[in-house]
Symmetry: C2
């Protein structure tokens, strides 16, 4: 049977867009371990979590059984502003590489936040609004999540307080200004506005901050300010649920043209993009309906999957958050200052951690100069300047495509292109000027952090 000719970009029609999120936990035999109360080491109850998160989001966080959550109409309407996102056949890259592989990428950068983060930001803001809250607090590193949340909050007239890792606040003033355009207040972290910030500053006066530290501050403000809750852009089960829209659209677009991927590749920091992209494919794999090679790509400078341990750990530096069982480098771990771009969180989504531990997916780590080489190669033929995060997936997609060139295999490769690099030009400049290196943590360093992991029976 003649297959339909595949266009450069596959767009779903509005009526073909998914109307439910898919919860991969429902199909997991080994469920992700529950969050634990950091004091008692008992599973966090809905009531306890409700002090930090909105009620509806707590319900989503704890629900390991419901496979599909209908997307509220208000969120669907917002999605229609920037979704469906295109699934692009990388014809030009294939040609340039001379590979028989067929490469597709799901591009999530065509919205002002510049990444997929908006998919969960609008959901979390919506439930906060629905609950009658005044506002939300959060942290941001590279700034994609903070921008996304600012956009969602502006749309819903919700107050938005962002704690931005100090080094990013200073090096990325434009990101900060985008958030201001959307009406958010942005505070460099650690700051003197919180107890935990003061404590960290007293202990490490010159610190340029970390995600774990910014999380602690944002949580403190949320739990101590009436009418506020905390929201998080990655790691959590609820975030993977919202981000499943990426994978569902990808699968619907591929199905339209009867395409079955062999390999699915995503970059992995906390796991929001990877988890979302692979969800429906992993679901098929878990149900025994199909098989796919699924590859998580992480920076060699922050290698939680490939060099971390699978254990309960603190989600934040201030140790105010629940404990999560995940692949982790230890909550004190901060990537070396030479590390560009995001993917700098010390841990990994508990869902993905469990799937990885169960052998259902692979992980590789890549040095950043090789990542930027791939980024530039991709930009020049596919016309999109990728975020450094996304370029991790590009690197491995190109590597797999080159393997196909050697073997002559016509594999179908799908990868997630999470966003654009407009605010990462300092990193590109370093790369062009030969100022970028590939420092990776030593085993000794990592051991030091592992020894500080909390003891959980």
């Amino acid at each position: 049977m003649a297959k339909k000719e595949i266009p450069y970009k596959i767009y779903l029609d509005e009526h073909e867009m998914p109307t439910s999120w898919y919860n991969v936990r429902a199909d997991m035999k080994n469920k992700p371990a529950p969050l634990l109360n950091p004091g008692t080491h008992q599973p966090m109850t809905a009531e306890e979590l409700g002090g930090v998160f909105c009620a509806d989001l707590v319900a989503q966080e704890l629900d390991n059984d419901t496979a599909y959550f209908p997307i509220p109409k208000e969120i669907l309407d917002f999605y229609k502003m920037y979704r469906p996102s295109p699934l692009t056949r990388a014809y030009c890259l294939e040609k340039k590489l001379g590979t028989p592989a067929k490469i597709y990428y799901k591009f999530e950068g065509n919205n002002t936040s510049g990444s997929h983060k908006l998919n969960s930001a609008i959901a979390q803001a919506y439930y906060a609004k629905k609950q009658g809250l005044k506002g939300v607090t959060t942290e941001t590193g590279a700034g994609q999540w903070g921008t996304a949340l600012s956009m969602a909050c502006a749309y819903l007239d919700l107050d938005c307080k962002v704690y931005m890792v100090k080094v990013s606040y200073e090096q990325k003033p434009f990101r900060r200004e985008v958030m201001r355009t959307y009406g958010a207040s942005v505070t460099p972290s650690p700051s003197m506005t919180t107890e935990v910030g003061k404590k960290i500053l007293a202990e490490h006066p010159g610190t340029t901050g970390s995600l774990g530290c910014a999380i602690s501050e944002a949580v403190e403000v949320a739990v101590s300010t009436p009418g506020y809750r905390y929201v998080l852009g990655s790691v959590l089960n609820q975030v993977l649920l919202h981000q499943s829209i990426i994978g569902l659209e990808t699968k619907a677009a591929l199905d339209k043209y009867d395409v079955k991927p062999d390999i699915i590749i995503g970059c992995a920091g906390g796991g929001s993009n990877l988890g979302g992209l692979i969800s429906p494919f992993m679901g098929e794999k878990l149900r025994g309906e199909a098989d796919y090679r699924i590859i998580a790509v992480e920076p060699a400078s922050c290698p939680s999957f490939t060099r971390g341990v699978f254990a309960y750990d603190f989600a934040d530096t201030g140790m105010v958050c629940p404990l999560a069982k995940m692949y982790t480098l230890g909550s004190g771990f901060i990537p070396a200052p030479n590390h560009a771009g995001g993917l700098r969180y010390h841990g990994m989504s508990p869902v993905l951690s469990q799937l990885y531990d169960d052998g259902l997916m692979e992980a590789v780590s890549v040095p950043q100069t090789k990542v930027f080489e791939a980024a530039e190669q991709f930009a020049r033929v596919e016309g999109i300047l990728p975020a450094p995060e996304s370029a991790h997936a590009i690197r491995v997609a190109i590597d797999e495509a080159l393997k196909c060139k050697e073997t002559g295999e016509e594999k179908t490769i799908v990868f997630g292109l999470t966003g654009t690099g407009y605010f990462d030009m300092v990193a590109y400049e370093k790369f062009h000027d030969g100022q970028m290196d590939d420092y990776i943590p030593t085993d000794e360093e990592l051991q030091e952090y592992f020894q500080k992991l909390p003891k959980v029976d």
Copy 2:
């Protein structure tokens, strides 16, 4: 008859994409005045123009009769990387304004150059490559055109030399870095690399440059370097021809849903976007098949249509280029330093100038603080951070929609959203901090420039 429900975003399928450019000159009764040799004041011949521009582009430039030019397959393939661009129904903006007007915008910012400029960049680079040239030279102001040309040249393995207005070069290092990612060489203008640059620097040692000056340098390098030609991102007839893809797609998308616009609005600097957007609509108007209100929007600080004169003028500061008959503020005019964003060229496309002079379109000028107010309002509900250029059109679209609110008229408004503002955050910051003002040139200042216009019989 029940009309089809209109989605948030109308995408054409790949097979619905236009395959020819439309040349509005073919339907103009009064053709645009020819370019003149600056020495003899005689119309430039194809041979004379061929020293500056590629042969195929010269043919397009001079052809006032052919209505449709088939788009070469190589260009169509490149278009498919980032086109069709979406035509978006601004449901959220309409709701926020409480207007009965129906607002649509054609968004050209979903490619890495961040604007519509890529549509002509790839065409001009393609014809240069076809002619066997080694490379092209150009100027760039805000950097959108330079970025677009760099992308096109990288794709075709063509050398690209960009002269960037010095003030932008210094204030927009990230733009510069994007061009470098695409392999272009970028020189701040005026520079010591050209005779005209040296002359301007000798006369005005502290100058921060202007578009007219950068054009002179780029032209000098093109005509004096074997295997090089000059390319330009706006003003020229050929550019409007290539940019007609914007209007053709817009019309095809509207036709799909039986929508007839009442008002079409575009920002106008040199006229590349406006000319492209309105082309097919203006064609219908010229042929008496339909009527539309067409509005050009320009900055109050650089008001060539609304306060300029319709006369032959130099296209560049160094006076090395042909003379063009256009609405102009005089080739020595440079907008005040407080002017943010593009739309800073002293003249206007000869095609649009003729159409405006013939009463076939209107023009309004708007102060920049009002432009940024509109930009922010738009960003908060439509989710796209607009370029300051594009925000000029947003301003007037909102104003027209608010008039409809008063009168109760359900007018259909279409405007061109040319690009994104990622590299304009310094301007947004000024706006947020109340540091932006609305200086406009006095009549006396303008008179001074008018008196220096060349005398052409």
